[in-house]
């Protein structure tokens, strides 16, 4: 088995990202997968991208454009 390297893009571990850790992943070309050397995450590029989307769950107002910074009359997510 040959040594691992970096992939086309330099993906971070999505599992570690969700615990506020930026860890570069390495690419295993034999298995066509990225893997984290700190935690146990491994996955193909599609899975990495899907998990990166998942990591955004906490950003409830990520796409909202605020126009008032002291008005709390309505929840930003539209919920009551």
């Amino acid at each position: 088995m040959a040594q691992s390297g970096k992939g086309r893009l330099n993906y971070r571990c999505p599992s570690c990202f969700m615990r506020d850790l930026d860890i570069d992943m390495f690419y295993d070309k034999d298995k066509n997968e990225y893997y984290c050397i700190r935690c146990q995450y491994r996955g193909g590029e599609d899975d990495v991208l899907a998990k990166n989307e998942l990591a955004r769950f906490r950003y409830g107002a990520m796409m909202r454009r605020f126009t008032d910074f002291e008005d709390f009359s309505g929840r930003e997510d539209g919920k009551a």
Binding site: G5, K6, L9, N10, Y11, R12, F17, D20, L21, D22, I23, D24, R38, V48, L49, N52, E53, A55, R56, R58, Y59, G60, A61, M62, M63, R64, R65, F66, F69, E70, F72, R75, E76, D77
Partner: protein, 612 residues
């Protein structure tokens, strides 16, 4: 008229942080690679072009490495002439073959060198700058500049009037995010420009005698809520940091958060006599042709173009003034007095919660009030002590440049603890017939006012529901200018049973530290004073308590941070108390209890001063 200022800073960094690691993966380290040098200069040119296209002037902070590059020097001169850009000198970007050969080290953070080396490096780079340009710079900076370094620079090169001197809440959280490998430990400073004191960079000067002679600006303008809880390097006026945080739509490459962040900073003019500030400083490593993590170069570049375009748009609309760093220093000294505080009523603009914080900073303290916890103080830095804290090799703090806290809810638990013990917080409990409610559990919002010499935060009233009576309480927190005091008023607006009586317990749980881990509390002294009498507890982890009816004051002296914190009270049937902690809860508590009836108020003061 409100004025929103932006400083846009670029540095031609011939060996950009990250770039060697990223582009050189699989190769032996070679910081003199021609491809690396060429790309670095290209990025600088691109950044300059983007700013100028949007009608924005920049401050070019030459790095030591770039002073050896004739093209970089020529570009700086040309852009100074053509666009009015300032040519400054950064103490970032030291690494290059010449530096390593001369100083025989891979260290690159100026504040971590020994004082002897700091002096040698400063003289070296400033003289090299003079050789290249024929004058000494008016602005300099690094991620952090310790007081001894600033004092030396100002003494040797009095032309310097402005410096990038800290990066807000870049500390243990950033360290963790970088897999415990990024040693920028500098929590506890101002988030907006200030005049550093000669004693400690973080603590603003209270008067001319303390004035270090420079105006300091923060490295980036950072989200005052997101950065306090999470990795600071995701949430600032650094477009690629926003990408680092994955705060964008991957299909459209849109990131409204960046504009919300800029706009909320603009809004801070309301709390600061019509003035607000932004700083954008993107190192060239963030516009690497290889991309940065999952963001391709095209997205990195687009985000920088969009950031500059937004500032450019605001400028065209008359809502923004672009300045160079030295221009800003002159403006700031005209605009601000030593004791005028910096205030920021800040809302969550990212997570979709209704959380709201209030940050206050003056020469005597930095305070964070959390409206989501009923107006509890969740962070407190006693600048009144002006703590001398040398950093770098040969000092007690080689890397740790943070200003110590008395309260830090993330590192010392705050309201919620596991199983046992207490966390640091300044709040109040309301009690009635054996029931107890902490205001930390009363979520609310606040409104800011400036009344004469006081900044006042008035919180929306909250209801405390006991089984047989409901009490409506309103909190007001006042910050008298030019003092180390904070006044907290609890006003009973109504009671469902007007004849009811409740007990209030105003308390502060505190300790000291700069990191997540506990410090030795031995040597602290707790005191209750009432008239001629006083009772003292030397801290020995024995879980002791002392109290006095009608106490004049309760206090704690903390020799390790040369700080004394005192609480005093104006209220009915008041009793002051102090509590020692124990090994599993290495905290101390200062507090007052008293009675409250309908339409009554209970008022306490917190006072911070230097202990010696």
């Amino acid at each position: 008229m409100e004025q929103f200022i932006v400083n846009i800073i670029h540095r031609p960094e011939m060996v950009p942080e990250y770039a060697e690691k990223v582009t050189g993966q699989g190769k032996a380290e070679d910081i003199g690679r021609k491809a690396l040098l060429t790309e670095s200069l290209d990025i600088f040119k691109t950044q300059q072009q983007i700013a100028h296209q949007n009608g924005l002037k920049t401050t070019i902070q030459m790095t030591y490495a770039s002073l050896f590059n004739a093209e970089a020097v020529a570009l700086a001169k040309e852009h100074h002439e053509k666009y009015g850009d300032e040519i400054g000198l950064s103490l970032l970007g030291l690494p290059c073959e010449q530096f390593r050969e001369k100083y025989k080290t891979k260290d690159f953070c100026i504040w971590m060198f020994s004082m002897e080396d700091k002096k040698a490096i400063v003289r070296d780079v400033f003289e090299k700058f003079h050789d290249a340009f024929g004058f000494y710079p008016e602005s300099t900076g690094s991620y952090y500049m310790d007081a001894e370094l600033i004092n030396f620079v100002k003494a040797e090169y009095p032309s310097v009037k402005c410096a990038v001197a800290t990066c807000w809440e870049e500390g243990p959280k950033a360290y963790h995010t970088c897999n415990n490998s990024w040693y920028t430990l500098m929590d506890g400073g101002p988030w907006a420009p200030w005049i550093p004191s000669k004693q400690n960079t973080h603590a603003p000067a209270a008067n001319q005698a303390e004035d270090s002679g420079i105006v300091a600006i923060p490295h980036l303008s950072r989200d005052l809520l997101a950065c306090y809880d999470g990795n600071g390097s995701n949430f600032g006026t650094h477009p690629q940091n926003v990408l680092r945080g994955m705060i964008y739509d991957t299909s459209t490459w849109e990131y409204p958060y960046l504009y919300n962040l800029i706009d909320q900073y603009r809004h801070l003019a309301k709390f600061n006599n019509g003035y607000a500030y932004n700083m954008m400083f993107v190192g060239p490593g963030w516009m690497n042709k290889m991309g940065r993590w999952e963001a391709p170069y095209e997205l990195l570049k687009k985000s920088y173009e969009d950031g500059c375009a937004y500032y450019g748009k605001l400028k065209k609309e008359g809502k923004l003034t672009d300045m160079t760093m030295s221009e800003f220093a002159d403006f700031y000294r005209q605009k601000k007095t030593y004791t005028e505080p910096e205030c920021a009523l800040w809302r969550d603009i990212l997570y979709g919660s209704d959380k709201q914080l209030f940050w206050y900073c003056d020469p005597y303290k930095r305070v964070c009030v959390n409206m989501d916890q009923g107006g509890a103080i969740v962070d407190l830095r006693p600048y009144a002590a002006k703590l001398e804290w040398p950093v770098g090799i040969g000092t007690k703090h080689v890397q740790d440049a943070s200003y110590p806290f008395l309260i830090q809810e993330k590192y010392r638990a705050g309201y919620f603890t596991h199983y046992a013990g207490e966390g640091t917080i300044r709040s109040a409990k309301v009690c009635h017939n054996g029931e107890e409610v902490d205001l930390c559990l009363c979520r609310t919002h606040a409104h800011f006012a400036q009344n004469g010499g006081e900044r006042v935060l008035t919180l929306d009233p909250v209801d405390i529901e006991f089984s047989d009576v409901t009490v409506k309480i309103q909190t007001r927190i006042a910050f008298p200018e030019g003092t180390g005091q904070i006044r907290i008023e609890r006003n009973v607006l109504s009671m469902s049973d007007p004849a009811a009586e409740v007990t209030i317990n105003e308390y502060m749980v505190a300790c000291y530290g700069t990191t997540e881990y506990p410090e030795d509390m031995t040597g602290l002294t707790l005191t209750v004073s009432a008239g001629e009498k006083s009772e003292t507890i030397p801290y020995e982890y024995k879980c002791r308590e002392a109290s006095a009816d009608g106490a004049d004051s309760v206090s704690c002296t903390l020799p390790p941070i040369k700080t004394k914190v005192t609480m005093t009270c104006q209220g009915a049937d008041k009793t002051g108390y102090v509590r020692e902690g124990y090994a599993f809860s290495p905290m101390f508590t200062l507090g007052y209890t008293g009675k409250l009836h309908d339409k009554e108020a209970f008022v306490t003061w917190l006072n911070l001063e230097r202990a010696d």
